[in-house]
């Protein structure tokens, strides 16, 4: 603000104006996108969370009733929140640990590295609907090959997607299969660790674990942090795999004449994003759907703000 009082040469002023116009021109597509596809729907979601609207008859003001319903009289909300929390704790942790392990492995492989890298990366690219259907088949307890093999080996054969206590682990397995993104990120980070530090550690007589603990990990910890936070945010959007797995496993999919039980079996795969879809596009309770959407937004933004902290290194300056 102090600048405003100091006289500015006219030429400089004109230049600044030109620059401002230029910046605005370059940013314009995104500014429109920000307004129409982000700011407007966000405001509107908050607005609808206080309205009663069935997508057909005109909306009316509903006060806090939608909020009261979702938080106090809709037990499925807490089931969904619990599942989301489970996925955050277990799926994200296992994915990061497994991705790091695979990243470490691929940096050590010397023969056929190209083959292994592609093999490890490939599943990440499989379209989620296709991958989920494939896993629903592979893990089908009655007819799938996985339980067949487990049986041959004399191991227990879980019910996977049909058993409420195994459905989330089955989804976790599917998520670990598509680990390619994390593998590549970790691989790049691991190759960036200065060699001298390993040599110094070796001179000090450090074993493999100590080298990992005192050299590798400190060097890559920002990447681990990044992987954890983005993993949490992805989990907040976890939708396709959960819904498709439930549909395929319950046998109620497409036009089979029955209504799909959301979160099959017994709400065990029921997540917040599915709740928005179910409330908004199946029960047509737009108000309650928007309440869940607002809550989902708040949680996601809380985690995003972790990324935005300067320390996280996510926003590197030029």
């Amino acid at each position: 603000m102090a600048l405003a009082s100091t006289p500015v040469p006219a030429a400089l002023k004109a230049k600044r104006r030109r620059e401002a116009a230029r910046t605005l021109a370059f940013l314009s597509p995104w500014l429109i996108g920000f307004g129409v596809f982000f700011a407007y729907p966000l405001i509107s979601t908050v607005y609808f969370s206080f309205m009663k609207y069935d997508g057909f008859t005109a909306p009316t003001f509903n006060g806090l009733k939608n909020w009261d319903y979702v938080l106090a009289h809709y037990p499925s909300f807490w089931t969904g929140l619990g599942n989301t929390l489970w996925l955050v704790l277990v799926m994200v942790t296992l994915r990061v640990a497994f991705g790091l392990g695979i990243g470490l492995l691929i940096t050590k492989v010397r023969t056929g590295a190209g083959f292994f890298r592609s093999a490890f990366y490939l599943p990440y690219l499989a379209p989620p609907v296709a991958a989920t259907m494939a896993f629903a088949f592979l893990l089908n307890p009655g007819t799938g090959p996985v339980n067949h093999l487990l049986g041959e080996l004399g191991l227990p054969q879980p019910g996977w997607f049909t058993d409420p206590s195994w459905s989330k682990p089955a989804l976790t397995l599917l998520a670990m299969w598509g680990i390619g993104d994390l593998m590549v990120i970790f691989m790049a980070a691991l190759l960036d660790v200065p060699k001298e530090q390993y040599e110094a550690a070796e001179l000090d007589g450090a074993g493999p674990w100590q080298k990992f603990r005192f050299v590798t990990f400190p060097n890559i910890s920002p990447i681990v942090m990044f992987a954890v936070v983005t993993g949490v945010i992805q989990t907040m959007q976890y939708y396709t795999q959960a819904i498709v797995a439930g549909k395929v496993a319950s046998g109620v999919i497409g036009g089979s004449g029955q209504q799909f039980e959301p979160g099959y079996p017994h709400g065990s795969t029921w997540t917040l994003p599915q709740m928005v879809y179910n409330l908004g596009f199946q029960r047509f309770d737009t108000g309650s759907a928007c309440v869940v959407a607002v809550i989902l937004f708040a949680i996601s933004m809380a985690f995003t703000s972790l990324l935005l902290r300067r320390k996280s290194g996510f926003i590197n300056e030029d």
Partner: protein
């Protein structure tokens, strides 16, 4: 992206020590590659099982057999002849193709401005981009659906999926910005001294240098559109003529709930183009993924 081993062998040593070191290196090699093979089985066997099941007979696909007794390659022809299957392909290609093109056109200038222009609110804008990138699409889906359905009357078509791509995609902007940051200022200043305006600088100097990043972004966006299920489910699925592969695949399972063989064949047909594309553009892709990470 060269893969160098972190295990270093001493260059010169006494013969006994060298022998020991060689043996340890060999053991290390065996251990590492055993793990790698086990991991490769985990990652690749699902593809193998799916492929094998896709050529079984209807009956055999329902057994726990792993190997087809007869190879029914005709299953693929059957899937291909599913009513609508071709239009799912056409729609998906249209969505992915147009979406990718529009994303690049609209995101490059924004990323360039965020990376190279100095202006007040730049950090704020960047934070907004990141927030958009992290926003679950379900948060805004209800107003967006109402917008497309009640104001634009475009639901049941691909337009609600494609049009937003003309207004910058947050992830692409972010990725491109990360890359553009690495272009040294001197190039831009040299261009300016040569009398290039901002647009010319972008087109003549920056774009050629940013090709790998643009390729990566294009690939990501193509895959995103190809794989998208939520968008088509919400906006286009109420018109069977506007179904995409992801959505159609699910309905395929509904219509053929007894035929795992056909379902698996369809699954592979939907996955195949993505895998082929990956093999052709592997390098660009992996560089792109690396860009999303932070500099350690």
């Amino acid at each position: 992206m060269t893969l160098t081993s972190t295990v270093r062998l001493p260059a010169r040593a006494t013969s006994a020590a060298a022998k020991l070191a060689r043996r340890r290196a060999a053991l290390h090699w065996v251990a590492v590659h055993s793990f790698a093979i086990a991991a490769a089985l985990f990652f690749l066997l699902p593809f193998v099982f799916v492929l094998l099941t896709s050529v079984m007979s209807d009956q055999q696909a329902l057994t726990s057999d792993l190997w087809p007794t007869e190879w029914h390659w005709g299953n693929y022809a059957k899937v291909w002849r599913t009513p609508g299957f071709l239009s799912w392909w056409r729609n998906t290609l249209l969505y992915a193709g147009a979406g990718t093109l529009l994303t690049i056109l609209s995101s490059v200038p924004v990323a360039y401005a965020l990376a190279k222009f100095r202006f007040r609110g730049r950090n704020l804008a960047l934070m907004a981009v990141i927030s958009m990138m992290m926003l679950p699409p379900q948060v805004t889906v209800i107003p967006m659906y109402l917008f497309w359905a009640k104001q634009m009357h475009l639901t049941g078509s691909l337009w609600p999926l494609i049009i937003p791509m003309a207004f910058g995609d947050a992830f692409s902007i972010f990725l491109l910005r990360q890359f553009l940051l690495t272009i040294p200022k001197e190039y831009l200043e040299a261009a300016r001294i040569d009398g290039c305006g901002d647009l010319r600088t972008l087109l003549r100097v920056v774009l050629p240098m940013a090709k790998p990043a643009i390729a990566a972004v294009a690939l990501f966006q193509f895959f995103y559109c190809w794989n998208d299920y939520f968008g088509p489910q919400i906006y286009s699925s109420e018109n069977a003529g506007a179904w995409t592969l992801s959505y159609g695949l699910e309905s395929f399972k509904g219509a053929h709930h007894t035929n795992w063989n056909l379902t698996m064949a369809a699954t592979l047909l939907v996955t195949a183009p993505v895998l082929v594309l990956f093999f052709f553009a592997q390098k660009a892709f992996i560089e792109g993924v690396t860009l999303t990470g932070v500099k350690g």
